[in-house]
């Protein structure tokens, strides 16, 4: 018993003696927020993304490596709205880190700062894995990226006041580039207005809403449930009455259901990057939207 205590004391003194790292540690739940933090903080922060573009962020294991990273985080940025409910609460309670608990400046839920879509009127699990506070995949509306950038800049300034000027300067450069890109994308997507699209999961809703497209169906029978043969057969029938012009899916989805529907209906299918890193061209947030729009325009002739 005494030996144990002595060991613990010795160990904690080693920890206290560890040098504090200069950079702000940012823990992002998703690639898009990691990319945004990188744009705004540059070399002032060390940014870690808990997930990659090939992961379904609804279903992530609370792995030891994630606990190790969140333990040392100064700022956490996640989509929120229950998207990470299966794993983030566990990471938070196991982190032993007060800086990033809900309610503190180091906890940022991006979806709280943008207008939400698809807030269900009825919340019932029989409807699938619905998110009671609305669709959490907010990053695919480029206007939301600008809104979250403002909030993130404020938080960076608050948490690391020594580098406040650097953050503000980077933010204004980024937002200027973003506004320019946004007006270009708005022109490019004119051709997509009203185009009916079949999605895999309701993860494209914000893009569809922004680009003025129309969702004509989803490969999942209900949110979060994998496609079933019966539902796909029904979709084939529905496409005969109300044909979509394109079927889209994300890199973390199996392409099989989209390919099946595409073969039966002769509607082209295309994988969209969904987040940064989802395709080779989606290297950053600009690339994400360039490639998403580019792929859609190339498919919808």
């Amino acid at each position: 018993m005494k030996a144990i205590l002595r060991f613990l004391v010795a160990l904690s003194s080693v920890v206290v003696a560890l040098p504090a790292t200069a950079a702000l540690n940012v823990f992002a739940c998703e690639q898009e927020w990691a990319a945004l933090a990188q744009e705004l903080a540059g070399d002032k922060a060390s940014v870690y993304s808990a997930t990659n573009a090939l992961q379904d962020v609804h279903k992530v294991e609370a792995r030891p490596s994630l606990i190790a990273r969140i333990r040392s985080a100064d700022l956490l940025i996640c989509s929120g709205s229950e998207l990470e409910i299966g794993w983030l609460p566990l990471l938070l309670t196991q982190s032993g880190n007060a800086r990033i608990q809900p309610g503190s400046a180091g906890y940022l839920e991006a979806s709280q700062f943008v207008p939400k879509l698809e807030i269900p009127k009825v919340v019932d699990r029989a409807l699938g894995d619905v998110h009671p506070s609305g669709n959490p995949h907010v990053h695919l509306d480029p206007r939301n990226i600008a809104k979250v950038a403002d909030v993130l800049t404020e938080r960076l300034v608050q948490l690391d006041p020594a580098n406040a000027e650097a953050y503000k300067a980077r933010a204004s450069v980024f937002l200027e580039r973003w506004r320019a890109a946004l007006s270009r994308w708005e022109k490019e997507t004119v051709r997509l207005k009203g185009v009916p699209v079949v999605v895999y999961h309701k993860d494209m809703s914000y893009f569809i809403n922004w680009a003025g497209m129309r969702e004509a169906g989803s490969l999942e029978p209900k949110p979060g449930l994998p496609p079933t043969p019966a539902h796909l057969a029904e979709l084939v029938e529905r496409m005969k009455r109300d044909p979509a012009k394109v079927i889209v899916y994300s890199p973390y989805n199996s392409p099989r259901a989209a390919e099946f529907l595409s073969e039966r209906t002769k509607i082209p299918s295309v994988m969209l990057p969904f987040t940064v890193g989802g395709t080779d061209k989606a290297k950053d947030l600009f690339g994400l939207f360039d490639d998403t729009i580019g792929r859609l325009l190339a498919t919808v002739k």
Binding site: P64, I67, G86, L90, Q94, G96, A98
Partner: protein, 443 residues
């Protein structure tokens, strides 16, 4: 004639003949364009209003019950087909524990239901209460603890009743197990599942490689401590130390390995000698020291860490226990006391593979080693038939189907050689569902 003319005109109109209508069409087009513009404007206005409404709807509800904790209920039911009488269940070679270790009743039964409430208490603490509602014994507290949120430097303190951090599977709730029942080693060394009243201090190292250290001080209310309910004394009845290290291997594999040590000094820990139909013949009791070492390892593979389509999980634990002290034979009869010492071990290894979405198959192998047991006079080995040397084994296979994250149906078959004289062939068909708040499961 007149009627014929009218008819001709009507037909011409119906066919849409371009009868000097150019100017008129231009006007109509202009009017239509204006109408479309108006409609477009109205749609945009409606969208803006809808968005406004959506923002308003996303604000939290107000009122007294807005702060309700997250509530969830686990229901499970089971059909058991057992070739041997479960009332006579025993694990030969090992002293019976005080816990519920048998395979349950035959036929259809409702399993233990679980009611869980959890919420942040304030900015400093989080509280969790998990009640188990057994169809026979009423309500029990499975876990009820508070946990710190605001300690920094990687420290967390838990206090109350919680599943001990000894080993790997012990901390996981039964509804999240990959098999219907606990490994044999958990049954003989931890009385199925050890939940202790006490306090846990845990520290996570500030390194990219995961490393944690934990210390638990408990009342000693359950096997391997004793007597049941804990000793009548101030201070600590059992203490546990654990450490884990874990990380990722490449982009698809995550692992964790741990070592734990549980030390307790049971006093009058009783166990019965049973006859062949499971009735106690006499009661014996042990007083001394019990020390348990557990090594555990877990490896999870999922392509690009995306477990939705396929994934594989390998889990294993090795237990080794040393006990020494005094054993009393037939406490209510002759009450002879002599020296007792034993070194026993056991392990299991299990693999679970999801081969297509929703469907998993699994295999588990259990083995216990009754090791060495020594008794000193006046005790003789014949006094304790249950402790006669025997190495129990069990093979288990299962297949389960999870149509959503909230429901699972499992079919499990096992060939259980816990008893030295008979093989129990077991078949379980089970459902496990969860209602309410979305649970989060430990790695």
């Amino acid at each position: 004639m007149y009627r014929k003319g009218t008819m001709a005109l009507a037909v011409a109109a119906a066919l849409g003949l371009p009868h000097g209508a150019t100017a008129q069409t231009q006007d109509e087009l202009r009017a239509l364009r204006e109408q479309v513009r108006q409609l477009d404007k109205r749609v945009q206005e409606a969208e803006a209003t809808a968005q406004q409404a959506a923002v308003q709807a996303s604000s939290r509800p107000t009122g007294e019950n807005a702060m309700n904790p997250a509530v969830s209920v686990i229901l499970n039911g089971i059909y058991s087909n057992l070739s041997q009488d479960p009332n006579a269940f025993r694990i030969n070679g090992f002293a019976p524990t005080l816990g519920e270790v048998g395979p349950g009743v035959r036929g259809l039964s409702l399993g233990e239901s679980e009611l869980a409430l959890a919420a942040n208490i304030d900015h400093n603490f989080r509280g969790t209460l998990i009640a188990s509602i057994s169809p026979e014994d009423g309500i029990g507290v499975e876990e009820g603890y508070i946990q710190t949120l605001a300690l920094s430097y990687g420290f967390t303190i838990k206090a109350g009743r919680f599943f001990s951090g000894v080993g790997y599977q012990n901390q996981i709730h039964a509804h999240a197990w990959d098999f219907t029942d606990a490994p044999l080693a958990n049954r003989v060394f931890l009385g199925n599942q050890l939940n202790e009243d006490g306090i846990q201090l845990k520290w996570v190292a500030p390194s990219d490689l995961y490393f944690d250290l934990g210390l638990e001080l408990g009342r000693g209310r359950q096997f391997p401590a004793g007597p049941a309910g804990g000793r009548n004394k101030n201070g600590v009845g059992s203490s546990t130390l654990f450490a884990h290290v874990g990380g990722d291997l490449g982009t698809s594999t995550a692992w964790q390995a741990g070592v734990s040590y549980l030390s307790t000094s049971p006093q009058d820990r009783t166990f019965g000698n049973l006859d062949s139909s499971g009735n106690p013949v006499n009661t014996n009791s042990f007083t001394g020291n019990s020390r348990l070492w557990v090594l555990d390892g877990i490896l999870k593979w999922a392509p690009n860490q995306n477990p939705t389509i396929t994934h594989f999980k390998l889990q294993g634990e090795y237990f080794r226990r040393k006990e020494d002290g005094n054993l009393t034979f037939d406490t209510t009869g002759t009450a002879q006391t002599g020296g007792f010492a034993s070194v026993q071990s056991g392990w299991y290894l299990q693999g679970v593979y999801q081969f297509v979405p929703m469907w998993r198959v699994g295999y588990r192998y259990d083995r216990l080693n009754s090791g060495t047991t020594s008794l000193s006079a006046p005790l003789t080995a014949a006094d304790f038939p249950i402790l006669a040397a025997y190495n129990p084994t069990r093979h288990t296979v299962m297949v389960d189907w999870s149509p959503s994250e909230f429901s699972r149906v499992r079919l499990q078959a096992a060939s259980d050689k816990s008893r030295s004289d008979a093989t129990d062939n077991q078949v379980f068909l089970q459902y496990i569902v969860s209602l309410g708040a979305h649970g989060a499961h430990k790695f």
